[in-house]
């Protein structure tokens, strides 16, 4: 049992009573200020970019250091496990190698054919080089938003709005950039919508985050659910921001009109991420009046 506290109600001392009252006034004022900050965050999401950038710059080195430690321990455990399972793994790898050799030959034929067709069409691959290659050092497990932290910032040329991808697929786009660190809105966040198309058939769709690590694929065309389990969706490049033909997700099941897909680039496993320049630039908001209006 905890005894009642005597200090809370400060007896007949006027000074102490006023002090307690003042602390509540400060607290309530602070709550109102906090609500004001939330309203500002709703009206102008980029409003506190400077504050966030500074906070990221301070906290990211800690995460980076810890990440190195965790990886070291993880590698040691992996090494030991590999040693134990060496025999069966060797056999499995030999089988895999045989299969891969066949696939490699097929791929070489395809790439030659592809080069020939490209020459015929005189296509030039003018995809710009990556702005920065950086490590994903963590994300927030406490907040119900899905952000990841990248250890590259405006010093490396990272700006808000640039798409982030890994070798496996699309990760998201930069929302806040500090000097040496930046924050990435993952494609699994509820606020993220990526214009995509199906790899098979090229049907346009939208990939919206669901907040639980998966994305929802909504077909843009009417009628039926064209997706099958195992279908891969790619970015379409519509609307700028994301470059076309980046793998996004693989469909795992259908739910009524939409399909639930799992991102190909699992941010929990990936390590390095590429920040690319925004595709076709971000459109300037005030310019370009709608063409239909007179």
């Amino acid at each position: 049992m905890k005894a009642p506290t005597r200090n809370r109600r400060p007896g007949f001392s006027r000074r102490a009573q006023y002090g307690l009252f003042a602390s509540y006034v400060v607290a309530v004022t602070g709550i109102l200020v906090g609500l004001g900050l939330i309203v500002i965050a709703r009206v102008d999401p980029q409003g506190f970019g400077m504050v966030w950038g500074a906070a990221l710059d301070v906290t990211t080195p800690i995460s980076s250091l810890e990440r190195g430690l965790v990886r070291g321990v993880g590698d040691a455990v992996d090494g030991t496990t590999n040693y134990i399972a060496a025999g069966s793994k060797n056999a499995a790898m030999a089988r895999e190698l045989d299969a891969d050799r066949r696939a490699l030959v097929a791929a070489r034929i395809l790439s030659l054919e592809n080069a020939r067709l490209r020459r015929m069409l005189k296509l030039v691959d003018n995809r710009p080089a990556a702005v920065a290659v950086a490590r994903i050092v963590g994300s927030t497990g406490v907040s119900s938003r899905r952000y990841a932290t990248l250890n590259a910032g405006s010093n490396e040329g990272v700006r808000p709005g640039q798409p982030v991808r890994s070798a496996e697929g699309l990760i998201g786009h930069v929302v806040e950039a500090g000097m040496t660190a930046s924050r990435v809105l993952l494609i699994t966040d509820n606020a993220s919508v990526v214009p995509v198309r199906m790899a098979r058939g090229g049907m346009p769709a939208l990939a919206a985050g669901r907040g639980d690590g998966s994305v929802e694929i909504r077909p843009l065309g009417a009628g039926g659910n064209p997706f099958d389990r195992g279908d891969i969706v790619l970015t379409s490049g519509t609307g700028g921001l994301y470059p076309p033909d980046v793998p996004v997700a693989v469909v795992v099941r259908k739910e009524g009109d939409v399909a639930v897909a799992w991102p190909l680039a699992n941010p929990a496993q990936l390590d390095y991420a590429m920040v690319e320049p925004a595709f076709a630039g971000l459109p300037p908001p005030p310019a370009a009046p709608p063409p239909g209006k007179r």
């Binding site: 905890k2 009642p4 809370r8 602070g30 994300s139 927030t140 406490v142 938003r145 639980d212």
Partner: protein, 178 residues
């Protein structure tokens, strides 16, 4: 710094430690979010809030209600929630504890856990509502496990606070009000 090995009256250094330990441990709880994990869903308990509640329920007279403002702001910056979320919810939690304390003269372990559970559930729900309003949050069913783990974690955090409390006041009692 090692504590002086005498029963001398509290020095400035000890007083500083007694004041700083609760603040730093709460900040440390918020900084748990910096661990290098990439979470797919919000499933980490808000350790900063748990530490704050642990200290508040252990030492009611230590902090005025407005201490939730700076600590909550630091928590927002460390955990990446919408700026203002921690300021509002943490201060509200402290004021709720004050309210309960005025009515409840004696409280025991179970009641303390109940108060903390109420405050945690309210704070997480409020943070979820704010995230939904400012852009989009995970569906509510994903927040429920976080709420449950946080409530179940609270007794451990309360123990940790008590341990730290004994250490911070180890040589010479500074605030021996109860």
């Amino acid at each position: 710094m090692p504590p002086p090995r005498s029963s001398a009256p509290p020095t400035r250094a000890i007083e500083l430690r007694a004041r700083l330990v609760p603040v730093l441990s709460t900040l440390g709880g918020s900084a748990v979010a910096l661990l290098p994990t990439v979470a797919l869903a919000p499933n980490w308990p808000p350790f900063g809030l748990l530490m704050l509640l642990g200290w508040r329920l252990l030492r009611p007279e230590m902090w005025p209600a407005w201490v939730g403002l700076p600590l909550g702001l630091a928590d927002d910056l460390l955990t990446g929630q919408t700026l203002g979320t921690g300021m509002v919810t943490w201060t509200a939690c402290l004021m709720l504890a004050d309210l309960v304390e005025v009515r409840l003269l004696w409280r025991d372990y179970v009641q303390e856990w109940l108060i903390a559970a109420l405050a945690i559930a309210g704070a997480i729900l409020c943070a979820w509502a704010i995230a939904t309003w400012t852009g989009g949050a995970a569906p509510l069913r994903l927040v429920v496990p976080q709420m449950l783990t946080s409530i179940l974690c609270f007794p451990i955090i309360g123990r940790l606070c008590a341990l730290l409390d004994r250490w911070r006041l180890a040589t010479g009692k500074i605030r021996a009000s109860d």
